[in-house]
Each structure stands twice: as structure tokens, then as C-alpha cells.
Symmetry: C2
Subunit: 222 residues, 2 copies
Amino acid sequence: MTIQVGFIVFPKVQQLDLTGPYEVFSEATSCDVHLVWKNLEPVRSTTGLDFTPTKTFVDCPALDLLCIPGGSGVNALMQDAEVLDFVRSRAASSRYVASVCTGALVLGAAGVLKGRRATTHWASHDFLEPLGAIPERARIVRDGNLFTGGGVTAGIDLGLTVLAEIAGRAEAEIIQLALEYAPEPPFAAGTPDTAAPAAVDAVVNERFAATLRARKAIVAAL
Amino acid sequence: MTIQVGFIVFPKVQQLDLTGPYEVFSEATSCDVHLVWKNLEPVRSTTGLDFTPTKTFVDCPALDLLCIPGGSGVNALMQDAEVLDFVRSRAASSRYVASVCTGALVLGAAGVLKGRRATTHWASHDFLEPLGAIPERARIVRDGNLFTGGGVTAGIDLGLTVLAEIAGRAEAEIIQLALEYAPEPPFAAGTPDTAAPAAVDAVVNERFAATLRARKAIVAAL
């Protein structure tokens, strides 16, 4: 029985949020992986790579797993009734629901996180509570059939974790080995607790500042 | 001064070999990132995602970093004089040369690894020696201006390592933090030394068997 996996893609998606877990599921023997959006026109990620959706909201098959990646485009999605309707409806009907990075905020805006434990990118963690979630700082948070991951690269950990749940641990371990996923980060800079204060400041107050400011206003208005 | 980074893209590239380090360099403030191929027609990765080249071998600018991802399509590249000529010429003129996964075998087929220490995906490591390299089992191997990485996900470690060299450690740490790269692999299955023997057998003798068999004949004939 083939496992149906649907990733929502959208303008200004963070490409590695998508391509990390996409690689995990599409390398597995048992999965059909779909890129789902309003139409089939290519969408441009934050860093310029284009992705061509393979299914629309209308013709997307029933899903075993709905997965939402993050990115600065999440701001627009949180205010987009067509997207939120699709997310709400498919979150209710899919066996498993997952998000990577700030994809969690789209689940939150759709009302899917109400009373559920969840995580997201560290720089957007404060938005979880106003969206009704019970925030938890962890790489992966599981609450029933809901898996949320931390920022960007957490999508690889999340993909393997969810694949083990859906297709069995043996398959997940084969994929982890095929992808040689035995990471050796060159620096201890991956979280705000371990990074230099100047790096935290650069991310929050420079690189992500405009997106975070706009996001704050959007969440307050929901 | 903008840093010029060129990734070769090609049919049957392993997408995460490319998209991991692509994300690192394209998030950095100082880099222009190019996808380089014979022409500008989209190429399809092993798992179905399409990538549209942005430069051809003819109009590719001078590069600070040439980086070659791997994938089953490497087999064709190792026998493609047009590709090997480009690689040989740009490896000689670029400040830094890098490969992810089996991209190293393309460098090898072009003669770039002769007498140099290098690594590649664990399942293709035995091909390094016949290509003239000094094989070294490590996540990242540096030999002068040459950086080679292990399989697939090693591209993220490699990207951050090379970014630190080119743009400085502070910038690499900002990017590591922005990508929340503090990995927590769910299983200890990322290398053949730690994975279950059944997983190693599945990768070598089932999933990758046809590609490895063809690769062996190609390397023997070079």
C-alpha cells in the first residue's frame, strides 16, 4: 500500500524546510510525494530555487501525511483563507500532520494547534502561544498524530522520525544510511543557547527582522 | 566583494546533495549562487524535483567556489567529455573546489583528485583509489583548496565549513543559527559502522545495486 505524502509549497517557502524531508520520503520505497499548491505554476523559494507543484488543493489525493514547510511566505499564508481552509480540512482527514520550521504557524492560524504541544523555528517560538498551542522547545515535538519540528534543518530529523512511524523503523534506518545522515556540524552555533550573542542578534535584529516584525502584526490581528 | 559560487546541476543529481549547501551559500549575505549546466533546460533530480540551470558552461562567470553534488547521474558525467573539460578547467581556475557525496567521482574522472586526499559517499568510497585519490574516511576532507564531503547530508556540514573559509567564521555561525543546524538524528544508522548489517545490505545490494554495478564498469574503463 503506497503512502501518500503531501507537502504544501508556496511563494517564499524556505527551500531546505521542504527539500530535507522531501528527500527522506521520496527515497523511501513506499511513498508517493506530492507538492501541493493552489495551481501548478512554479513558485519561487526564498533563496531563488523554483518548485513546480504537482497537485492542486482541488485534485490532491487523500493523504497519509500532510506536511507544511516554513519560510517568510508563511506570513501571507496565515492570512489566506483558501490555504487555511485546505490545511484545516486536510489536517482533520490525514492520518498524520507535520510541520517544519515556521510551517507550524500556518497550522496555528488554521486552528490546528489549539491545546496541542508544538515547536517551531527558535526565532518564531513566541508566536505559538498566541496561536493556541502549548509551546515546547525541542527539535521534534509529537502530540498524538501531530509532529512539529524546529527550524529548517530539523526537517531531516522530522522526516526520519515520521517515516519510522509510518513505514517502520527498519525503512527509516535504511534511508538514514543511504543519506549518510551522521551529521558533524562544524560549529556549536545551531541554537540561540549555544551560539554567540552577536549571531543571535544578527539573525533576530538584522536577517529576519522585517519578517518577524510583520509576523507579529499578523498574529496579533488573527 | 561578492563571492561567486557555482554548483553543477545535471540529470539524476541527488537533490539534497545540492539543496543542502545551496541553502547555506544562498542564505549568506555575500554570495551569488549559480546552477551550471550545458544548457538552461530544467534537469530532473533522482527523486523527481526539477532544477533550472541559471548559467551554461559557456557563460558561467569566474568562480570562487566550484561545487559538484552527486547522484546516480554521476555515472553519465564520468564519461562526458564536455562536462569533464569544464570541471578540469574550472577546478584549475577557481579559488576553492568542493564536492558532496559522489560528486567527488566526477572530480576524479576529470583528473582533479590525483594524489589528493578525498572522501565520498561511503558506498562509493572504493572508487576513489582507482581514480587516483588518496581515500580518507571522514565527513569532510580538506586538502589545500579542495574540500570533499561524505554522502548527501554531509553537504550541509561541507557548506558551513567552506563558507567559514571564504566568508569568515562569524558569517558561517550566523547561517548555522538561522538554519537551526543542531541536528538530532533519530537513529544511530547514519554510517555503515553504526547501522544494522541488514540496512547496509539493503543499501548496497538492493537500493544502490544497479548504480554501483554500472559505476564499477565505468571506473574500470576510464
